[in-house]
Structures are given as structure tokens and as C-alpha cells.
Symmetry: C4
Subunit: 378 residues, 4 copies
């Protein structure tokens, strides 16, 4: 029972009980506060008379972070796998981040290590937040799959830095104190090619300025390469992850259950998952229609000429406006937290082309809803 | 009657009477002038001897802005919904912007509040322009749909700023007055990662410069992420809005009336709406052909071998050159303001593949026009 | 006869006689030299003892530019349209650029206007080069078709500049001489949002730096919008122009003559035009194959196991490696300047799917060539 | 025999013996160390007492680089082509880079040329690394295929620099020592348009700042053009190269042997090559499935309910989860270095649509594996 309580406490399912969300935000705030305090602490005398209060708060945050580690350790121990789960947790990246977030600082306090060690490890505590953001994981996947073009771009950059700094060194070495050696000129070269332009080293001779102008323009093109490789890799990876998520969601909807796996893959590419908070209005009667919805979890309330009724997980809505190319015929709002799959008007035809049986079901439902509305209003 | 006059005055329909356009531009100019005056007013003595004139103009602009609010309030009151429309207007974002644009400044003048309040609220008046630009709305939609990847990118950025500033702090704290604490080093770190490079803080030691160069290059890649996420989200949202607009336009054309909603969605993805001013020449006889047009509103004049005739909303033109792969056979110019849907040569085949009945109509019309031209010239 | 000689002299057709190319380069060099001289002339005493020589050269360049105008005027006069062509030329943008390039400077010299007028108009002569680069035209088309999103982006930028400068002004006005008024703070704001970072105005207070850091990051995202809108518009416009060019080229090839216009549009989207200089080697026996070629103009020589033969405009080559998925079976080099349409291996299947009759022709030709090669070698 | 040994030593095939890899890394390190020493050598007294050691190391690296040249020369001589191969090597770009990397420095040492010559040629040695990175070749291909839009962008930039610097020169020439002539103002203009913003020249007058702000914003848009042209060209070229590589790999797999060349081209566009190191785990039982694999070379071990077995080049795996839309049913790890072709879940349907015979084979294999598993576990 304790095991189950802990499991739901640590759960990241959007449908988990409310305490999971509170616990998550509590830990996140503690980590941010702890890191923030470590950063500010390097400014001498910043806390003034409040120093003792801040130190106390700091200890408190550290305790919270430590407790979180032991909560997770206990949850692992209470799972069916026991020792294996504990070891698996401690040596996973997230487990290591949890440990690093408090152990070294505590140790350093106990053993009286210099304050710098505290600072360095306090900063590392920020990594604990990686658990709540898939960004680092995504970035890792991108770096892994794009390391070849990135390396190519790095090689071109290295060549550019090397050659431009050598040329500027030969031109300006006798008159520019910032270019008295190639390594000095390299600092200028990187600052220019990265379009930083600190201005601490600037070509001084006319020839140096002409060459420097070319280097600046060159940099725009060449240094844009890794940026665009990373950006497109990141976008691609996000899309890929969304596809796999949607793919698994679609398979769970009873409505799509009779479809073959290959068909599901096609539909998943067209649908987009969206989270709706309780009370949010998804469409208003009379609005222009640009999509329809499949309800994955939660409940929505439909109010229209056919009266008010409630839709549950597995139902769909918003199809009438797409089928008849008219404006919304009802207002739909969320009664609980919901997950919906959104199908754009643009993709509707492609979707129904690929699964005519689904189109038939949607048509029949729309027909039933409309005739119900007519009875009601007549 | 007043209600209708006000409605057309405030209308944004491109086919509304001319006074709507004048009123729109008048309000926009008043807002820009009022904001401009507020901005310039912070420069001491900038208006010199003209100060009294400027203050008078300022009052005038403020009055215009206030009158606009009451005009819109009256228009709401005169609509069928009465109180509901009035409340709806005042509490809509645009209504609030209209109110904020003049009420606080007027109040502050009445109650003798400090001049700073005038300045701050005068700047806010600029938001009134949001009504005339869909940009803010689009931006909001983008931030809403892309907040997840943006948050991921923000987390990576925060990590980068935190770690790079900590490292530089440890390397340079004893010799660089700009890096005497981690917060100080963070200023350098953000300025470098954003490729700003003010140059007020610069690494001074050799090791600091080597690390700083890496940070500069890193920044190019990492800080490009949010830029590209926002840029692609913005482009996608603009396209989506255009699609929905075109979708509704297509449905209004009698020519497309017999099509099913799903077919309309397909066509809408291929067509692009374009506004033409009166007198503009759409094509010239002998030009290379790259598209055909469907006329949504307004009138165009066609002058060719078949003589001169006028086309009205619902007609199409420019199809002969696409069907026969030849140069333009007539010159077409707009007689009035027009809206046309443009179909690129590249998409013509895809378009007619998806609706063979439309191709038949286009073919028949082209045939009729050509034979008419032959009779005329023979 | 003079008319024809002038016409070929001014022709930009890649197959025009050699003197057209020489004349083009001669005019371009004269314009660049003239503009360069005007620019350098603003540096006092830069030419030293050579001043009189430079002035002479300047006069010479001016004469060349003037003669070019009269040559073009004569060519227009000698055309069949006479006065109409002359007026059309003088009032076309390129005609105006030609006139502006020399007339005001000459006039200013005659009437003894101040030297500044010479400088200003000398710089404008550079516009004469626009004739030889389609860039300005393309840019105009992009600005025309993308002015709506660009205006939206401008509005967001204006909002950002206005609000960030107001905030920083209130924070720093008393301590920062660079932010003593909102217009002063706007200079900082633009310099920061454009990621320029001159460093002449920098926030000085802690709060100002925190806010400034946010502005810097914000700028990365917001100011990337117009850049990406322009960049994608430019790319799209270039592709569109290439499509129309290819479309007209395809229609001229006898091989594609029997196709319908709609099919040509499909093929044109897959083919890419490429210019080949005389002597260039297009493929070498044994190379990996990634495309096939259709010869539009010029001649190529094929050397393989089947001996050496010459292909002329309308022929195709490189198809065997694509059909049999093997390496190149012959070496092909250009005997004259050529224009070819390139079809990528990736698009080959799509191409032949859409026009099976062409595939049949290609197959038959490949078969004939192979059996010929076997006879030869056996 | 020596010839074969040398050939494998210099081979870049990922399946070549281990000594090839060691030799490759050895040469790369020697080149990097040699270039690094040359760069650092320009800092007076940087090596201090170690100077003699460094000079010795430098000589050693130079010898290694020289030996590499002669090894490659010998390998060329020992090939069947003899003299032709030797000449071909020496006059190939890579051969020239190999020669330049040591010959001029050695010559300069022998003849006592000034030290600057050593430095300049020592930097050029870095080009020897080009052999190990396809980046330079790719960049060359991009510049070749995109020179037209790049030239267009350059022309617009030149116009911008010319006009903005002229305007600022007229506005600020009397008060700004950095804008006393147009060439001086051009330095500011380039630094601003490239968003460098050194801050050494900054507009000083109010009008100059207003114009400068516009130039800064303009620069963002205009200078983004070449960056995005290059970036998209680079990405396209990488994709093209990958396609051709995959195309040749697919043709080698016996499983795809019965397909026609055109079908192979279609499949190649969907598959992605990936290198796997020995011991790497490709999938774990219970994981979410998002792709299937075709094994090109090497061996993998499959452990699942059907026991443990080994797959060899030509086999495929991971298909069950895609066909049945379930989680992974087995764990797969690499026994040797492997090359696999990856097929995403998203593209699976498209893939099997285009080659139904392959789908039948995959289905049959999956069925056999599953029934084997049931026998095993029952």
C-alpha cells in the first residue's frame, strides 16, 4: 500500500492524483531556490542581515532534495524488483543527478572542505530538473544522430578560424596589440565569426579592416551551419517523439481498435495530441471550423441545438462542421482534464481516404446527432 | 440606420465603403502620433518653443482615441445584443486596449498624478494598434502551441548560462572586475550566448578566452533553437490561418458550390488568396504564364483577340495558357478592387486530378473563348 | 543590319556570340571602377600624385557608361517599334538606372554643382548592375508577396522596442547617461534586439542587467522572424522562377513534344536546369550514378565500349546506370557550351510513373545502345 | 603482398583491419599537433625551457607527415597503374595537400628562409585533414550548385553596404571620426549589417542613430539570406550523398536483389544507414517500438521468448512490433561492428505499399518467429 502511494506520488501521468503534481512542483521549486541561493551567495554581502535566514533556508532546501532521493530509493526498494531496482535507480542518470544534488555539499559541510566545493556542487543540483524536462534527452539524441554533419561543420569552422587568424596576424602583428601572435588573432577570429563582436580586438589598418569585413560576412554563412543543423535536428527529433506518443495513444482508442497497425501509423502521422485543462472551451457555436477532435481521456460537455450532453473517452466531436463545411453547431467545453487528438481540416480528406470505415462511422454519428438536434428544435 | 452607418464605419471588410478605410487610418495615425509624442516628451526641452502646440496636439490625439472608444461602445449598444454586447466589448482584449489607451492618462491629468504615470500609460496606447494587425494573436497562438519545445529550449539555455558562468567565475574571479561573482559572470554569459557581445565584460586570461570562444560557438547553436522554433511556428500558424480563410472563400464561389466539403479542403490547400487594387494589371498578352485566377469579388477587364469583355465574381481566367502551355493570349486588368484565388502552374495538374468535373468546365470555357477569338479575328 | 548587330551585342542569351559577353563584362567593370573611384575619392588625398590620372580614368568610365546608354537607345530606335521602344526604354527601371548612372554627374560637372552631388550620383551608378543580376527583381517580388507577415513581424518588433525601452528608461534614467530619455533607451533597445551589441550603451544597475539579459534573449527569437520570412520567401521565389524557366525549356524539347501541358508541368517540377561549359566532363565510366541528363542545347561526346559518338540537342544520356542500377558505362564530356536538364535518381521512378510512354522510349534507346556496345566489343 | 598490406593500412572501409584505424588516428593527431605547435610558436617565449623539446617534437611530426606522403606514393606505385597512379596521386587535391604539409617547411629549413614562411606553410598542413572529413568536398559542391542565389544575395549586400554607408557618411562626416570618408563608413556598415557591432564606430548624432537602427534591423533580414542559402544547400547536399550511399547499400542486400532499380530508388529514400559498435543494444524487450532494421554487415544476437539466436548480414529484425503494433518482443545486441538500414514506423506503410512482395516475406518471417516462440514457451 505504501508502495502504491509512493508510486502515484512520483507518477508523471497527467491523470495521476493531485498530490503527484504538488510534489513535483515542490521539488522543482526547492531545486531552483537551492541553486539560486548558491549563485547569489558568491556576491559578497548580498544577503546582509538576512544571511542567517538564507543559510537556514539553504539547509532546508538541501534537506528536501535529500529526502526526495530517499523517497525514490524507498519506492525502488518497495517495487517487485528490490535490490535490482535500487541499483538500477542509483546508477541511472536521473538517480546520479539526485545523489549529486545533495551528497557532495553535505559531505563538504561535514568535512569542512573549502566553500568553492559547495558552490560547484550546488550548481550541479540544477541537473536534477532534467527529470522534468525531456530537453536534455532530446538534445542527446540529436547530437548522436547529427554528429557527422556537426563534425563536418566544426572542421570547416576550425579551418576558417585558423586561416583568417593567420592572415590577420601577418597583416596587423606590428601595430595591433590584440594580434601579436596567432593565438591572439584567433580570439579576434572566433569573436568575429561568431558575430559576437566584443570590440576588445578590432583590426586597425585599412587592409585589416577590408579583410575583417570579409571575415564577418563569411562568419554569417559558415557559423550558421551548426545552428541550422542543430535546429532542424531538434525539430525532427521532437516530431519523431510526438509521433511515437500519438501512435501509442491511437492504439488505445477503442474507436481505432479494428484498424491494422500500418493504418494506425498513417493516422498517427496526421493527428496531434493536445492537453486540455478543466473548464477550457474547445469550440464555440458559430466559430469558423478548422479541425475535429478525438477524446482520449477525460470528459467534455457539448451544448447545442440538440441540448446538452457529455462525451467520454473514445468519443469524437467537431465533425459536423468539417463534413458539411459550415460553422460550429455546438459549444464544447472540458469538464475534467482531457487529452484529445486533433485532426486539422487540411488533413481530414487524407485521413478518411485512408480509412473509409472510419469515415462511415463518423458520417453515421454526425447524421444521428443532426437529426436529434432537429427533433429537439422542432 | 445610425447602427448600420457605424457598423460600416468600423468594418474591416476590404469591400466596405471608403469611409471605413479613412476612419481606420485616422485612428491609426492618431495612436502613432500620441505614442510618438509620449516617447519624445521624455527628452527634456526637445519641443522648445513648440511645447504648447505639441501639448495641444497631444490633447487632440487623446480626444480622438477617447471618441473612438465611445463610437465603438455606441455601436455595441446599438447592436441587437445591447448590454451584453457592451460588456462583451469592454472586457474583450481590444476593448480593454481601447480603454487603457486614454482612460488612465485622462484620470492622471485630472487627479494631478506624477508625469511618469502619463508616460507609462501613453506607451500602452500603442496596444490599440493590435486591432489592425493579426500579429499579436498569431504570436499568442504560436506561444500556446509551441510552449513545450520553447520550455525545453529555455531549460537547455538556463543550464548553459549556469554552467558557463560558473566555470568562467572560477577561472577569472581574481583578475576580472566583471566576473567577481557568479551573477556578474552570468551577465557576460547571456551577452555572449545571445551573440550580443557588448564588450563591457570580456575574459582577460588566456584560459578564459579559450573557454569564452567555446561559449561563443556554443551559443550560436543553442540560442538558435528558440529562434527557429518560433520562426517555424509563426510560419506554420500564418499558413494555417490562410488555409482557413481560403477554405471559407472557396465555399462561397458558385463555381465550386457542387463540390463536397472534403474536396474543398483539398483545393483550398492549393489556392492562394491575393488582393488586387483597382487598375492593377494581372497579366499582359505575350507574357510567360505561371498561374490561373478565380475571381472572388470585384471585376476585371479582359482585352485580347476576342475583343474586350468584363469578368465578374465567380469567373476564372488565365486558363488557356496553362491548358495549351503557351503564352498569355489576353491582357487582364482590374476594374475595381478585387480578391482572386491564384492557382500555380505547378499545382494545376494536382488540382484538376482531384476534381475532373472542374477540369471539364475549365476546358469547355477555354474552348468557347478560343473559338470566339477565332471568329472575331477571322 | 546594324540593328541586328546591336541586338546580338546586347543579348544575354548564353548562346549569343562572344562579343555580347565581352561587352557585358566591359560595362560591368566600368561601372564597378566608376563607383569604386567615387567611394575612394571621399578619402582626402588618397590618390596622391596619381590624382590627375584617376580623374582622367573617371571621365573615361563615365563616357563608357554614357555610350552604353546611347547604344541601347539606338538599339531601341532601330527596332520595329521606334519611338515607342525609345520611350519604353527610357522609362523602364533599367533605362532610368542607365540614365542616372551618368546624366546627373555630367550635368553637375557642367554647371559646377558642389562635389557632394557628384558623390551621391556616382554611388547610384551601381544600380546599373541590377540589369545583370535578377536579385533586385526577386527581392521586390518577395517583399510584394510577403509584406503581410513582414508587417506583422514589424509590429511585434515595434511593440518590443517600445516596451523594453520604456522599462529600461524607468529603471536606469537616473544613473545611465545612455538612457536619459525613452528615445535614448530605444537606441539601446534596437542595438540589443538586433543582437548588435555595440556596447556604447549598456545597463549599469543589477535590475537593468537582469532585464537587459531577457531583452537580449527575446531579441534572438523575435528578430529572427523577419529574417526567416525573408529567407524562405527568397528561396520560394527562386524556386518558382526556376520552375517557370524549366517549364518553357521542357516544352521546347522535341522528345517531350507529344506530352500534354499538364504533364509537362509535372516533369518540370522534377527536372533542374544546369549550364555546362565546353570541355566539362559530365560523367566518367565507372562512377557511381545519381542522375540522368536531357540535352537542351549544345553537343556532348560519349566515349564508351560502344565507341565514341556525339549527342545533339533533344538527346538524353546517363539512363543505363539508372535503369540497371549499375555504374556509369561511358564517359560524357561537353563539346560546346550546353544546357542540360538533370533528373535525380531519387525522382526517376516518379518521373517514369507519370509518363510511361517516355519510359518506353528511354528503355528502347538504352537497349539499342547496349546491344550496339556488345556488338562493338564482341 | 606489401601492396595489399599498404592498401588495407590506408583503407577507410569501416570493416578494414584495426591497423587502418590506428594509422588514421596517428596521422590526424600528428597533423593537429604540428599545426598546433606552429600556431603557439608565434607567441614569444611561450614554451620557455621546453623550447628544445617542442622543436624536436615538431621535427618528429613533420617526419611523420612526410612519411605518410611517401607511404601513399609507394601504395600508388605498387598499384597496377604504376606511373599513372603516382602522377594521379600527386596532382589530386589530397596529394597536393599531403605534399604542401611538409615540403615547403622542409625546404624553408634547408635554405634558411625566414621563419614566417615556416609559419604560413605549417598552417596549411591542416588541409591534410580534409581527407578525413567530407566537409570541404560537400561545401565545394554546395558553392557550385548555389553560386547563382549566393551571387544574387552578394549583390543585394553590396548595394546595402554602399547605400547605407553613403547616407551615414553625409549625416555624420563632420562630427564622427569613424565616418570621415565613405570607405570609413563602409567599415561601420559591414560591422552593423553582419550584426557584429564591435562598437569602435557608432553613429553619434540623433539622425545617425535613427538611420543606424534601421540599418541594424535591415541587416538581420538581408544578411540572413546567404546564411540560409548555404545552410539549406549544405543540408540538401548531405541528404543527396546519404541517398546515393544508401542506394548502393540496398542493392548489395540479397533480400532486395529481386527488386527493380526504380523500386530500389524508392526504398533508399525511406531507409537510413546507421553504424553500430560491437556490444551496443539496438532494442530491449518491452521497449516502445518505432522502427525496424535490415542488417547490412556484421552480426547481431537476438534474445527473446524463442531463445537466443544470431542474425547475419541480409537478415532483418524488429518487424514484429511494427506489424502487430505491440512492444518489442526480444532484446537485440550487436556481436560485431554492424551496418544497419533503419526503417521508421512512420515510413513502414509507404515502404510495404511500394513493394508488396517484401511485405509478404516480412510477414512470413514474423509468423515463423512467433510460432517458434510459442512452441518454445509452451
Amino acid at each position: 500500500m505504501v508502495a502504491q502511494w509512493l508510486e502515484t506520488l512520483l507518477s508523471r501521468d497527467p491523470l495521476a492524483p493531485r498530490r503527484a503534481k504538488f510534489y513535483r512542483w515542490f521539488i522543482m521549486l526547492a531545486v531552483v531556490a537551492f541553486t539560486g541561493e548558491t549563485v547569489l551567495d558568491t556576491v559578497p554581502g548580498i544577503f546582509g542581515a538576512w544571511e542567517s535566514v538564507v543559510i537556514l533556508a539553504d539547509r532546508l532546501f538541501l534537506t528536501v532534495v535529500a529526502v526526495d532521493f530517499f523517497v525514490r530509493l524507498t519506492a525502488a526498494w518497495l517495487s517487485s524488483a528490490r535490490w535490482q531496482a535500487v541499483v538500477g535507480y542509483v546508477f541511472s542518470p536521473f538517480g546520479l543527478f539526485d545523489l549529486i544534488a545533495f551528497a557532495p555539499v553535505a559531505l563538504s559541510d561535514l568535512l569542512g572542505w573549502p566553500h568553492d566545493v559547495d558552490t560547484a556542487f550546488g550548481i550541479l543540483a540544477f541537473l536534477k530538473l532534467a527529470r522534468y524536462s525531456p530537453a536534455l534527452e532530446t538534445l542527446g539524441a540529436v547530437l548522436l544522430s547529427e554528429w557527422r554533419p556537426l563534425l563536418s561543420a566544426m572542421f570547416i569552422m576550425a579551418l576558417l578560424v585558423l586561416f583568417t587568424s593567420t592572415v590577420l596576424y601577418f597583416v596587423e602583428r606590428d601595430l595591433n596589440p590584440g594580434m601579436i601572435s596567432i593565438p591572439h588573432a584567433m580570439w579576434w577570429s572566433v569573436v568575429t565569426l561568431a558575430t559576437l563582436g566584443y570590440g576588445d580586438v578590432v583590426p586597425l589598418s585599412a587592409l585589416g579592416k577590408v579583410l575583417g569585413a570579409f571575415v564577418g560576412v563569411l562568419g554569417l554563412g559558415m557559423f550558421a551551419l551548426p545552428a541550422s543543423i542543430l535546429a532542424s535536428g531538434f525539430t525532427e527529433e521532437m516530431r519523431r517523439r510526438n509521433f511515437v506518443n500519438t501512435w501509442h495513444l491511437v492504439a488505445k482508442v477503442p474507436f481505432f481498435a479494428k484498424l491494422q497497425a500500418a493504418q494506425i501509423a498513417q493516422l498517427a502521422a496526421l493527428l496531434k495530441m493536445q492537453r486540455i485543462i478543466s473548464g477550457e472551451v474547445l469550440m464555440r457555436e458559430g466559430d469558423d471550423a478548422d479541425c475535429m477532435y478525438f477524446l482520449i481521456s477525460g470528459q467534455v460537455q457539448v451544448s447545442g441545438p440538440a441540448g446538452t450532453f457529455v462525451l467520454k473517452a473514445g468519443d469524437f466531436f467537431g465533425e459536423i462542421a468539417l463534413l458539411q463545411h459550415c460553422q460550429r453547431t455546438a459549444t464544447v467545453s472540458a469538464l475534467t482534464r482531457c487529452q484529445v487528438l486533433v485532426l486539422d481540416a487540411r488533413d481530414f480528406q487524407q485521413f478518411t481516404d485512408k480509412s473509409p470505415e472510419i469515415l462511415a462511422t463518423i458520417r453515421a454519428t454526425a447524421q444521428a446527432r443532426l437529426s436529434q438536434g432537429e427533433e429537439q428544435t422542432s
